[in-house]
């Protein structure tokens, strides 16, 4: 996609999003309520209106080729960038989906393993040090020190012996 195409596509998408936000805000009163001032929806409604106007101005300026982006014929995202973004965002998505099943600690282990070894192409030793070291450090930091319990999913029973140590 050319940057010029991306510019107008983004403005249209954001404009539609603004319309949706205006509609959603209008679920609460957007006018003046006697004795209580502006209704609860007024503030986000008018702000979403401002967003919409900004998108419309950007679209008008796009037709006039006013912004550097609207004149640029360069690729919005070149092949290399697309690849690294796809891999990174994809593995992060997998990380979050897996968190719901096997818990955050095991999900991050797999994520680090994949990223360090197959994206970074680092040695097996470094891969294992990071994939094991980071979750273990974070476990003691969050669960023992901060008393913040990260989601564990089906891996919860595996942590019972550890709980006995730290609590």
């Amino acid at each position: 996609m050319r940057t010029r195409t991306a510019e107008v596509t983004m403005a249209v998408i954001m404009g539609l999003l603004s319309l949706y936000l205006m509609w959603k805000s209008a679920e609460l009163p957007i006018g003046w309520t006697e004795g209580r001032g502006p209704g609860g929806g007024a503030w986000p409604f008018w702000l979403a209106g401002v967003m919409l106007i900004c998108c419309l101005v950007t679209i008008v300026r796009w037709f006039g080729r006013k912004t550097p982006e609207s004149r640029s014929e360069a690729e919005y995202m070149d092949t290399d960038a697309r690849r690294i973004n796809f891999v990174t965002v994809g593995s992060l998505l997998a990380f979050l989906v897996l968190t719901h099943f096997i818990g955050m600690y095991f999900a991050m282990m797999l994520f680090l393993f994949f990223y360090v070894r197959f994206v970074g192409r680092h040695s097996w030793l470094l891969t294992f040090v990071l994939a094991l070291g980071v979750p273990i450090f974070l476990f003691f930091f969050f669960e023992a020190l901060l008393k913040i319990i990260l989601p564990k999913g089906y891996s919860e029973p595996l942590f019972y012996p550890l709980y006995r140590i730290i609590f």
Binding site: S25, T67, L93, M108, G120, L130, L138, P151
Partner: protein, 505 residues
């Protein structure tokens, strides 16, 4: 004087063993964060904020302020050694730092940067100590209309001075404000903007979700994309003799350093300006004032000292409105301000009255952190230089993991972690099209305060908007905001007139 006593108290608080440890740790982490290309103070503070729940607010702000400070020092290291700015605040340092490194004088440049940072930091902290109490005193007179006017002024600085595309800047501000409106409506108590009836939206969108999304995920995607090429680390050898020599060289730049400190401090106070424009301006001023402006860009030591002095001074300056008015002076202080709300403090002039130990502890720590950072910086430069050789593919996954865990910690809801990823990707795509992202972060922090002050004003005056112009203080502030708002519009008209008279290409 009224300042001396609380300041001494502040020193005592900052020197308490726990706070001192936190400060040193913060300095080292900050230096590391600043030195890594692609990571700046704002990334460090956003990613580390959830970790500070461990300690009391005073310790937390001392730690994060030290990270902020250290990052300002550290930015120079990669600018000089790699020729890549470690953060946008160190862009101007590359202009002369890189040529000096190429000539084998990398150590001179590094010392100049450290000394400049130290002087800039110290002068600006002194200015801060002198200005903050009277300003906070003055701000106690502010009512809701003034508060609202101040926030408009903060947003107007982005439009007037930000230098980005104006519709896109306003869009970014509005997005931040709308996101801040998600959750329960404070006045009626009714749920508002609960998208797809997801229960996670009932507690609102925490500013950290947006900040970590933008500065943790989005920025790292950006860096992964742009840092494809191999980097070349310059060599630097150190000896006490060389350091003294470098300091002698700096003698000629005393005026430059002092003027950059003052300039940086005042530019730093403005919300949209901050450390990056301050350093660029200081570089420009140093060049125009110099006897030999032609030597700039070819390895003039004053060209390194000026921007580094200014960016440190600006980082202190940006804390002034944060502490006294509750308006952040930079994206990093916006996150600090949001942190204060999480820690249960109400930012604004009352901080000086209700939590003097917090304010003066912070101020005291700034003096001491400055001192520590310059020592750690000069002593461990070789170590930080070796950090630069660390491939980004090791750091990036660790940062991603920290973002996800850190995003979960404040609300303990996976819903927020998903939002972080979504915001990270969307704002990365927006940023690629030149939408500025900093205004959105500032807006989501200020959003609840802005809405509250506007509605309080309107309820109090039965919807009469004239109150904003009838009260002299709010009228003055609003007039300044309108002026800033009009500035780029006037410039645009001038430009379009000029381009009409010349035939288009």
């Amino acid at each position: 004087m009224e300042i001396i006593d609380p300041l001494l108290q502040g020193f005592l608080i900052a020197l308490a063993p726990q706070n001192l440890m936190l400060m040193m740790l913060g300095c080292v982490v900050g230096l590391f964060v600043g030195a890594m290309p692609g990571l700046g103070s704002v990334n460090g503070v956003a990613i580390l904020l959830p970790v500070t729940f461990l300690v009391p607010p005073t310790g937390a702000i001392i730690f994060l302020a030290a990270v902020y400070y250290g990052a300002m020092y550290g930015g120079a290291i990669s600018s000089i050694m790699l020729g890549i700015p470690g953060a946008s605040t160190a862009v101007a340092t590359v202009f002369d730092g890189r040529p000096l490194a190429m000539q084998g004088k990398a150590d001179w440049a590094l010392v100049a940067a450290a000394v400049g940072s130290f002087v800039g930091g110290t002068i600006s902290v002194i200015l801060f100590t002198l200005f903050a109490p009277p300003l906070a005193d003055f701000a106690l007179r502010f009512g809701p209309p003034e508060e609202f006017a101040l926030m408009m002024l903060a947003f107007a600085t982005f439009i007037g001075l930000g230098g980005d595309d104006i519709p896109k800047t306003i869009f970014s501000i509005a997005v931040g404000l709308v996101l801040a409106a998600v959750g329960l409506d404070e006045v009626s108590g009714k749920p508002r903007l609960i998208f797809f009836d997801l229960p996670g939206f009932f507690h609102g969108i925490n500013f950290l979700v947006l900040a970590i999304g933008i500065y943790g995920i989005g920025e790292i995607l950006w860096t992964l994309e742009t840092s494809k090429g191999e980097v070349k680390v310059s060599q630097a050898s150190f000896s006490v003799k060389r350091i003294i020599e470098a300091c002698k060289q700096l003698k000629n730049s005393v005026v430059t350093i002092i003027s950059s400190s003052v300039l940086g401090y005042f530019v730093g106070i403005l919300p949209a300006a901050g450390a990056t424009p301050a350093s660029l301006m200081a570089y420009g001023v140093a060049k125009t004032m110099a006897k030999d402006p032609d030597s700039f860009g070819k390895g003039n030591i004053a060209g390194v000292a000026a921007p580094e002095t200014a960016n440190n001074a600006a980082s202190t300056g940006s804390m002034l409105p944060m502490i006294t008015l509750g308006i952040p002076g930079s994206p990093t202080t916006a996150i600090l301000l949001g942190g204060m709300i999480i820690w249960g403090l109400r930012p604004g002039p009352l901080l000086f009255v209700n939590h003097p130990e917090f304010v003066w502890g912070l101020i005291g720590s700034l003096y001491i952190a400055n001192f520590f950072t310059v020592i750690i910086n000069i002593a461990f430069i070789p170590l930080f230089v070796s950090v630069l050789k660390l491939p980004f593919t090791i750091l990036a996954p660790i940062i991603f993991v920290l973002c996800m865990v850190g995003g979960f910690a404040p609300t303990q809801d996976m819903h927020d972690v998903w939002l972080i990823l979504i915001f990270g990707v969307v704002f990365y795509l927006l940023r690629k099209l030149n939408y500025p992202v900093a205004p959105a972060v500032l807006a989501i922090v200020l959003g609840p305060l802005a809405e509250r002050s506007l509605r309080q004003t309107l309820i109090g005056e039965q919807g009469d908007l004239m109150v904003f112009v009838e009260r002299p203080l709010s009228a003055t502030i609003l007039a300044m905001a309108v002026l800033l708002f009009a500035l780029p519009l006037l410039k645009m008209r001038k430009k379009s007139k000029a381009s009409e008279s010349t035939p288009a290409d």
